[in-house]
Structure formats: structure tokens, C-alpha cells
Amino acid sequence: MNKLELAYFGACSLIALVGAIVTVGAKNPIRGAMGLLSTIIGIAGLYLMLAAEFLAAIQLLVYAGAVVILFLFVIMLLGPSAQSKRDARGAVARYVGAAAMLFSGVGGMALVMRTQSPAPTALPAAPPQFGTIESIGHELFSTALVPFELSGALLLVAVVGAVAVARGKQVDPTLLPAADAKKPSASPSPTARAAGQTKEARS
């Protein structure tokens, strides 16, 4: 086995696994986001090793550049209250987690052992065009064209939905329908109360 490739593989997987453990174990969510970033970078390195150059670039751009930054924005928006006091669950959940870890680990090992090849075999050589932007793009725009366009629609819907959910109840009170303004709610927000008052004053 080539020592250099094995060393690169070990370094990337070590970065990814340590990042995953930091993500799960860190008390401070910002530290957890940094662990997630480390995992993503390690996995991008593994993608490069697997001749998936386009996916490595996408991983760094989308995950490290967009998703982790979004997490950091939300963590900083929530402030210190994002760090809840008692964060880990009780003993039962921890035992269930440990059992799940053990079970999936042993199951995965057993599955790997049951494969046809008795000893780990080296992967076949990849064709020169394998995993490049050109070949992936060719496949994306020929065989997977419909899902590709649909993923664009999915992202648009997700963005609109995220804005609609996160904007909250800060609506112009004059635009509220009459039924909403009259309906008594358990804990009316200041804007809803103001809307009710204006409605009463008008009627």
C-alpha cells in the first residue's frame, strides 16, 4: 500500500472524525459549528482522494461557505441563550445513544466482513474524465435534467419558506383581516394587540 496515500487518507479522516466528535460534544454551539467545519473540510479531502473534484469544490462552497456561516449567524443572533443550561439528556438517552453507536458499529463491521472479497482490495483506476466538472455537468444536463431543475425550485421554495417563517409576526396592522384582529389569543404579541386596538377604535 502506498504510504503517502494512506497518510493522506488518515489525516483527512482524523480531521473529519475529530471535528464530528467536537460537534457533538462541545458545550458552546460556536465551537460545535467549528467542529462541523473541520468535518466538512476533512470530507472534502476524502472526496479529492476519491477523484470527485467537482464534489469537493461544491462541498467547500456550499457547506463551508453557506451552511456553516448560516449556523454561525443564527448562533450569534440568538446570543448566549443559544447555550442551554443542562444540555445533555438523562442517563436513559445516553445509554440508548451508546447502544445505537455500538449496534451500528458492530453491524457495519459485520457487513464489511461479509463482503465477497476476503481481503481489502484496491480500487480500480479511474478514467481521466471521472469526476470532473465537465463530465458531471454533462450528466447533470442530460440524464438528470429534470431533478436538476426541480432542485432549483426546491431551493426557491426553501428560501421563501425560511423568510416567511423567520420573519415572525411583524405585519403591518392595517393589513390584518378583521377576523384575525377580533380573535382573542392566549398571549397576544404587541403588534397583534395594537392591531386589535386600532380595529376597535375604528369600529
Binding site: 462541523l36 453557506a66 447555550q83 484496491a122 450528466e139 432542485s151 431551493l155
Partner: protein, 102 residues
Amino acid sequence: MTVPLEYFVIVAAVLFMTGAVGFLIRRNLLVLLMSIELMLNAVNLTLVAFNRQHPGDHTGQIFTFFIIAIAAAEAAVGLAIVLAFFRLRSTVRSDDADLLRN
């Protein structure tokens, strides 16, 4: 390429386990979302590794591309829900999300 496929699968399995355990034992909603991202990344690594074993077509890599797109959408919507929940309850503990109880 001398590192065998099994090594990649084992790394992905350990990553998935870590994400699943984090999802089970943590209470912070943000950490739960990050654990989901860990599990999605583990699955992506498996898909790319198996695609590398059959270099005839790019099916696994195309799947990974779509999973990354879906994960980005999921993170956006999930974080928006966390923000809305925080406005309602001033907390991000998943135990306090009991609006649909009784």
C-alpha cells in the same frame, strides 16, 4: 488508488454513528441540526466511495450533488424554525418544544 473501499465505508459509518448519537443525547436544537448535517455528510461519503468503485457512470456523485442541495434547503428552513421558536419561547432546548402537547 491504493486505499481500499472498506476504509472509506468504515470512516463513514463512524461519522454516521457520531451524528446519530449526537442527535439522541443532545438537547440544543442547533446541535441537533448540526448532527443531521454530520449524518448527511457520512451518507454522501459512502455514495462517492461506492461510485468510485464503479467508474462507468456518475450516479453516486449526482445523488451526492442533490443531497447537498437538499441539505442546504433543510438547514435554511430548520434554522428559520429555530429562530421562530426562540422568539416564541426564548429558549432553544428541544424539551421546551411542546406546543402540540395535549
